[in-house]
């Protein structure tokens, strides 16, 4: 019944709800409103049947961000007075990005493309939906490249990057492999799209899910 309800919710409604939740994060400042927003996000995750484990796994990116924000606030305003504003802001930041994660896990690329195509040309809408869908793969690949380069001795850890002499390693060891991976992924997706006769046949070919 629950699964059926998640499938019945149109993609446009899911996008509208997630955008609204994302925008509400900018105006929530008090602990009470943040708690209310947290509750809303949990309800949305349950309603949209988004995989909670995957979302929590991806939230580790926010953990680093939270630590950076809190440390910077403490450095600027001192220990007791800077902690609470820093924590509030980092929670706001998480609540700003969380609906995007929920959206990307709960809406299929076809649904996203249909909604984007209202405001964008058909091909750009397809490209946008595909790119949003592949954000996880890109981030995972960037993380793997980062760890592999550290293992082979690249000076790109947070501590080593305090030295400007090591900044060149970020370009050579992280940015260039990431760009090459982006090109490879674009080539693979375009070949897959061509194999499904995207842009070639007038008539759309798709599996209707039955």
């Amino acid at each position: 019944m629950h699964n059926y309800m998640a499938k019945k919710i149109p993609g446009g409604v899911k996008i509208a709800v997630c955008i609204s939740l994302s925008m509400i994060a900018f105006v929530t400042r008090t602990p009470f409103s943040l708690a209310a927003l947290f509750f809303c996000n949990i309800v949305v995750i349950l309603m949209f049947q988004a995989p909670l484990f995957l979302i929590l796994k991806e939230c580790r990116f926010f953990l680093v961000q939270t630590v950076i924000i809190i440390v910077l606030y403490i450095l600027k305003f001192g220990w007791p007075s800077g902690f609470l504003p820093g924590l509030t802001l980092s929670i706001q930041f998480v609540f700003f990005l969380l609906p995007g994660l929920i959206l990307s896990h709960s809406v299929s690329p076809a649904q996203t493309a249909r909604c984007f195509s209202v405001i964008l040309p058909h091909h750009l809408a397809f490209v946008l939906s595909v790119c949003i869908h592949f954000i996880h793969n890109l981030m995972e690949e960037v993380n793997e490249i980062y760890e592999a380069q550290i293992m082979r001795g690249a000076r790109i850890t947070a501590k080593e990057l305090c030295n400007p002499a090591n900044w060149k390693d970020v370009v050579n060891c992280l940015i260039i492999p990431t760009i090459i991976y982006g090109f490879m992924m674009a080539r693979q997706i375009s070949m897959a799209a061509k194999a499904r006769k995207f842009q070639i046949d007038e008539k759309r070919t798709c599996w209707n899910g039955e």
């Binding site: 996008i15 955008i19 994302s22 925008m23 900018f26 961000q65 950076i68 924000i69 910077l72 802001l89 930041f93 700003f96 990005l97 609906p99 995007g100 984007f116 405001i119 964008l120 091909h123 750009l124 490209v127 946008l128 595909v130 790119c131 949003i132 592949f134 954000i135 890109l138 981030m139 370009v171 050579n172 940015i175 260039i176 760009i179 090459i180 982006g182 090109f183 992924m185 674009a186 080539r187 997706i189 375009s190 070949m191 799209a193 061509k194 995207f198 842009q199 070639i200």
Partner: protein, 179 residues
């Protein structure tokens, strides 16, 4: 002939997808750098870098502008920034400058000073976009000018720093036969 057409269409889709990935990187870096550090223009570092990269790597006309439209659409859809629908101007105007100068100076990526020139002009569009946004928010005109000057100075510094990576990255990509 049909094969040639299909190949060119596939190539075009491949290029568009790469532009999409550049747009995703712009969006992610802009979102992650949103620290409220009171350092104006720090997101311009990656924006200028990826816009220039998309212009140099993809032989489509207006490639940087397409990348900017995609990243701007993402920013609007996910409610980022205070500009609302005008937010897309902040992405499109630097991209249009980069596309325009790539016609005037087709090899601008090979020298550092041309990259600095293009990045300075592209980043300075932040003044116009900020002015429009602040104006619609109803701010006092004198305050808008001061505010936009501070913002655009920061944007130019970070934009120039981002563009300094371009000659090295493009040279490496050419060496690997990627572009």
């Amino acid at each position: 002939m049909n094969e040639i057409n299909s190949l060119s269409k596939r190539k075009k889709l491949e290029y568009l997808l790469f532009l999409g990935f550049c747009a995703v990187f712009i969006f992610i870096t802009k979102a992650l750098l949103r620290l409220h550090l009171n350092i104006p223009g720090h997101s311009m570092f990656f924006m200028i870098f990826f816009l220039m990269l998309s212009n140099r790597c993809v032989p489509l006309r207006y490639s940087a502008t397409i990348c900017a439209i995609l990243s701007g659409s993402m920013a609007i859809l996910f409610g980022m920034g205070k500009g609302g629908p005008l937010l897309i101007l902040k992405f499109i105007m630097p991209a249009m400058i980069i596309d325009f100068f790539s016609y005037l100076i087709p090899t601008f990526d090979q020298k550092y000073w041309t990259c600095i020139l293009v990045a300075t002009l592209a980043s300075s569009t932040k003044f116009i976009s900020s002015f429009i946004v602040d104006f619609f928010l109803g701010m006092d005109t004198q305050l808008i000018v001061y505010h936009c000057l501070i913002k655009s100075c920061g944007a130019i510094i970070f934009g120039v720093l981002g563009s300094l990576m371009i000659p090295m990255v493009i040279a490496r990509l050419k060496a690997y036969d990627i572009i």
